[in-house]
Structure formats: C-alpha cells, structure tokens
Symmetry: C2
Subunit: 399 residues, 2 copies
C-alpha cells in the first residue's frame, strides 16, 4: 500500500495546547536548514538565549531551550538538581504535580506530597507545614499554572516560603510563560521549565528552561553524575555556553529553533506586558460570553488562568459529542477534562496568537449552536452581545 503526503485539516486550536501557530512562525520553521555548529547558527542561539531571558524576566546565564518537549524540560530540572536520597516537597493540585512526583521517585529521592483538590490553588499553609515538618527537604516543586485545571498558584509566595526553609524551587511554567505575569528573578525561582506550544504560539517540541546561579552551583557540585546523559546540563552547557567555542553535545533541532526564535521575536515586538494584558482582556471577553450562555467556571475567580478556561459541563450534556461536533463541523478543537475532571469540564484555551476576538466569537457561537441543538436552553445571540459589551468596556471598540 502506498502512503501519500499528509495534508492536515485547518483547525482552530482552543484546547490546552498546542495552540494555533502563527503563520510567521510556521514559515520561519521552513527556512533552509544549516549546520548546528555553523557560525550563523551560533549567533541565532545567542539571540534565543537573550530573548528567553527577556520572557522569563531573568538574568540567569543558564537560560536555554531543551531539545525536547516540556516533559523533558521537567525531567531536566529534576535529574540535574536532585540526587538520590534527597527529600523533595511536591505540591499537587492537578495532573502535573503527579508527574513531578514520578520524576522525584525515578531519581531515587523521596517526594513529600502536599495535596490540594483539583481546581484549587496550592494552599500556602499546608506547604509551610510540610516544609516545617521536613527541615531536611532540599527542594520545593510546584506548578505555577496547572494545565489540567486552569488554576494559577501564588508562585511568588511559594518561592518566599522555600527560601525561608532553605529549599531551592522547581517551577512548572508550561502554560504560564508569556501568558500571565511570571518574574523569575524578582520571585527568586531557581529552576523553571516551560513549553513552546502554549502562549508563545510556537510548535510543540522544545522546552525553555532557566536556572539560577544557586541552582547551577548545585548542579556543578553534584556527588553523582546526572542519570541522563542527554539532559545532563554539565554537558549541555558546553554547547549552549558563552563564546564561539561550542562543544558538540547532540545535534540541535535546527528548524524548530528557527520557529522558537521567530516566536520570541514576536513576543519582543508586542512587548511582554502587552501580551499579558491581551491574554487577560480576552479571558474576560470569553467569560462574558460564556456567562451570558449560563455556563460557569470550575475555578475561583482569583485563581483563574486567563489563557486556560475550565468550564463546567451543563447537566445532561454529552461532552464528548459536543467536542466531536465542534471539531467535525467547525474545525474547532477545545480540550476535555483530564484525570479526576474527565467528563466534568471542558478546557478552552486562549493562548498566544489564538487569544483573539475572532476565535472567541467562533467558539461561543459554535458552542451555542451545538448546545442548543442538544437541548440546552440559552438566549440566542446573548453571548455575542455580551462580547460586544465587554469589548466596549475595555475600550477596544468604539461606543
């Protein structure tokens, strides 16, 4: 049987990621491949480092993209910072805290779990209790923006607690980076990882990471070798290090790095603060429309991520049928619930390029038509009117 070229359908991606990739970024990705040790490639690598420092708001020298998806970025933090036998306080209020636990165990360390309900922010008091009860813990690990629930936790306060109890921090910022305020140096984060496919509108496959000097010190003075050769930062630093003399470690994913460079240039050109404001405003626009349709959010107002909206499924509605209809009829992807929230919420992403008013209108009208068809009762057109009212309030359209 002969297989033909793959021509994907044109979707609108409003799930938990990947989000829509901007055409400029797709086009950058298709530029001619050059060598991974080419002097011009090295210049581009330096620019990527500099732009990543900007979006992370850090001066950390060790700020690079790991050559693999966000999950590998997570693993990079854990295998480099933690040695066998150590104790790590891990906060879990969703799927990705659970993955952190797996990482700690596979390093041969002991996770001390601080659990909160899925859909709630991390409880600072419980974390302090755990740190107090485990004075020998070396690291506090938590998720800034839980992709499984749409919750953001108070990363700044959590880092303060960690410092108070002499712990380094490992922070998951896969969904928060460039979508919501995140300040690595000001908050004192020691190790952070993210992904490219969320609020930066880039393709998935790379994981930006950043490490404080204190973290680098710990990595350099490890007793045991890092268990992963591929992710060993002592070696990776030699390739991404300063200066023209780079040591070959692995073959970098050239074209995905072109795409990341372009995505970062676009954030720079928009301005990081402006990107945060855009994500926030569009969340309020979507929310106005959803609430006009009688839909409600899973998460408390104060803890909601603007870029990832967990919406409760109305009683009696077959949620999978709704998602299938949106995909097949409107080429619109929204996300299902994960883990304990499966069947209970939809996850509607407004990330990066996809965080725009046209997408919001498409999503609301397609959802309204589909739900109405399935017997859910809501005022026809109310969502679109609420959108307009909110845009006027935000001074984005004239009165």
């Amino acid at each position: 049987m002969t297989i033909s070229s793959f021509n994907p359908p044109i979707r609108t991606l409003m799930g938990p990621g990947p989000s829509d990739v901007h055409p400029r970024i797709l086009s950058a990705m298709a530029r001619p491949t050059i060598g991974h040790l080419d002097p011009q490639f090295v210049v581009m690598m330096d620019e990527i480092k500099q732009l990543l420092q900007y979006v992370f708001q850090t001066k950390n020298e060790l700020t690079i993209p790991v050559s693999a998806p966000g999950s590998a970025g997570m693993e990079t933090c854990f295998v480099n910072l933690i040695e066998p036998g150590e104790k790590v306080v891990v906060c879990q209020n969703g799927a990705f805290g659970g993955r952190m636990k797996e990482n700690v165990e596979r390093v041969g360390a002991s996770p001390i779990m601080v659990e909160d309900e899925w859909g709630k922010a991390i409880d600072l008091n419980k974390v302090e209790d755990a740190l107090k009860a485990n004075p020998d813990a070396s690291v506090l690990a938590f998720v800034h923006a839980e992709t499984s629930t749409g919750v953001q936790s108070d990363a700044k306060a959590l880092c303060e607690l960690a410092r108070k109890y002499d712990c380094l921090t490992i922070v998951d910022a896969v969904t928060s980076l460039t979508g919501t305020p995140l300040k690595v140096d000001e908050w004192g984060i020691d190790a952070i990882y993210s992904g490219t496919q969320k609020c930066m509108s880039c393709t998935p496959g790379l994981s930006p990471v950043s490490f404080s000097d204190k973290a680098v010190e710990r990595i350099k003075s490890r007793k045991q070798k890092v268990q992963s050769w591929f992710l060993d930062l002592n070696l990776v630093m030699g390739y991404w290090g300063a200066g023209a003399k780079r040591a070959y470690h692995h073959t970098a994913p050239i074209n995905p790095l072109y795409a990341l460079h372009e995505a970062l240039v676009m954030v720079q050109d928009e301005g990081l603060e402006n990107a945060w404001v855009r994500h926030d405003q569009n969340h309020h626009v979507l929310r106005a429309g959803l609430e006009a349709m009688g839909l409600r959010f899973l998460v408390n107002e104060a803890d909601r991520l603007p870029q990832l909206n967990a919406v409760l499924i109305p009683k009696g509605i077959d949620e999978a049928a709704v998602r299938a209809r949106l995909l097949n009829q409107y080429n619109l992807e929204i996300g299902a619930g994960l883990g304990s929230l499966a069947g209970k919420v939809w996850r509607i992403g407004l990330m990066g390029y996809a965080s725009n008013v046209n997408n919001i209108l498409l999503c609301l009208t397609a959802l309204e038509a589909t739900l109405t068809d399935m017997g859910y009762s809501c005022d026809s057109g109310a969502a679109a009117q609420a959108v307009n009212a909110k845009l006027r309030e935000q001074n984005r359209i004239s009165a």
Copy 2:
C-alpha cells in the same frame, strides 16, 4: 536592543549531518499545526509507524520516532533495556561507542569495553572473546555506522554472535538508516535507534527506534521502573499504541512529525533499495574525483560508509582554514574530524537528498580551487574528468 527575524544563509550541507533537507520536507514542516490527539493526527502517526517499519525492514510493532534527537534515541534503548547491576558488552571504534559506555554507566550497569582503533571496523574475534569471558552479560551494544569515522561494521555477524551468547543487541543506526543496507528482522536486531537528519534528508530533532518482541518482553517485565519518565516506553507505548484510544503521555512535536512523514513517503516513492544504490554509486563518483586529486581515505575500502567519507588531510594543509573558505566562499559545509581524528580528516557527507552529482561537483571543484590556492599541487580539472568517467562507467551519462 531589538532582535530581528533570523534568515539563515543557503548552505550546501555535506558534513556528517544534518544534511540538506529536501524542499518538499521543509514545506511539509510548515503545514498548519493540529492537536496531538486529533483523529487525523492519529492516522498520520499510524502511517509513520508503517513507513518506519519499511525503512527498518521490520515487522516490530514497537517502531516509533522518539520525540527528541538521536542521542535521546540512544538513551531510550539503554534506560529501557538495561537494569542496574547488569553487564553490557560495548564495542567502541569511534566517538559514539564512548557515548554508549556513558549510557551504560548512568543506568548503574557495568560496561565491558571492546575497543578498536578509530577508523577500523569492529573486530568480531575480540567481541566473541568478550562475550565468552562474560557469560552473564545481558546485552551487546555497537554502532553500525560510526559517524565519527565513516566506518561500517558487520551488524549481521555481530547480531549472530550476540544470539550465540544469549545477549540482546542495541544498535546505533543514526548514519546508516536508508543510506546503506540495514535489515532489522533478517539480522535479528533487538533494539535500534537512528536520527532523521542524515540519509532521510529530514530536519534533526527526532529519533526513530524499533524494538523486537523479545526486547519489549524484557521492558515489560523489568524489576525497576525505567529511570526516565519521558523515555519510559511502557508509557510511550500507550500513546503510540495500536487503535484509536491513545493515552496522553507528552505533547508530540507535531510539525517535525509532518516532516518525518514526508521524508519517509519520499523514501517509499524512491524505493529503499534504490536509495541504497544511489548512495553507493555517488560515493564511487566522489571517490573517483578525490583520488584524481591525490586525496586518500582513512578507512579500508571494504569498511567504508558510502554516505560518510573520511578523507585524510594532505600534509601541511591548515584544515580549519580550508573548511572556513568552503563555508564562506561557497556556502559549503564539510565536517571536521572528531576526537582522536581532529585535525587528521575531513568528513564529507553524501546523505539523502545531498547525495547527488551536482553536490559532488561543487565539493570537488571548490576543494580543488581552495587546496591549489593553499599550495597543494593537483591537476586542474582532473577531478571533474574522473567524475564523468565514473558516471559513464555507471551508465548514468551516455558515452
């Protein structure tokens, strides 16, 4: 300081990889991103598996691309197949055998090294001695095509030896896949990894792997969890597994997978055997030209890889200056020597799309002009004439 979009120069890539990427593949990479759980994406994943089975010449069910470069493919094989305390016979006749040793050690296992000189094929007798002396060894690991030296070893005979001594095999095929005969099932290879950026003309960043049923059995019955969460095939299998019901593991690198799909379709359309013949013929054409210029090969004729030519640097020539001139004046990249061969050889790749007569002519004439300019004496035009003579002999141009 404002950073602008990156527009790479147009190079001709004739180093040890990445090789030139075919425009069809670059263009496939820029197709619109869809979700990693999209039903249409799942269809494409199945096609990739099927096409990888073809290029690996295997029926192995577990035949997938790892979502990271070849080094991560290597690590996937070692962390999944080997448990702490085991003994692994590792053949080293170049840089990548050394990396295998690192991998074995980081798993907490013991490498038994069988060393051959860089530039020589693996000595079967030494391997048999090592297997005989270590009846408790569980795995034999070796590099089929050494990217650092341009040597191919007898993978078929090595696998026979491994079976005789009841060892599984881990085989590095980063540079051999689709460039030179490789038959996973016929030769009885248990675990194999490759890269996308060599003889498939795809962009770097993914690592095709394949595991025999016996290897899968061993992975499923491990005593300890795989030390890497990201590379744990027990989990990855759930995402790449058969059927429509896929379990989310990590976000797949969507667009690079489009590129791999296109690259594989192109190999299918050319025919795998035809690709092998093309690589072989073009090696002989390049060789005719190089020898006409008085240049010599590092490797014995019988052990040479057609896709990677290690050429001895003439006495008195500043090899780095030659490479810099080729890059700056002709936009032509050839590779330096690695490790103990640094300063002694150039590595000239004829991989995938880049294995064509135009590239050979460019390389020979640019090299001739550069070397002549640096005081090396050779007959002007002799290389081009030798190319024509060889092409006529191969019946590729008319007499």
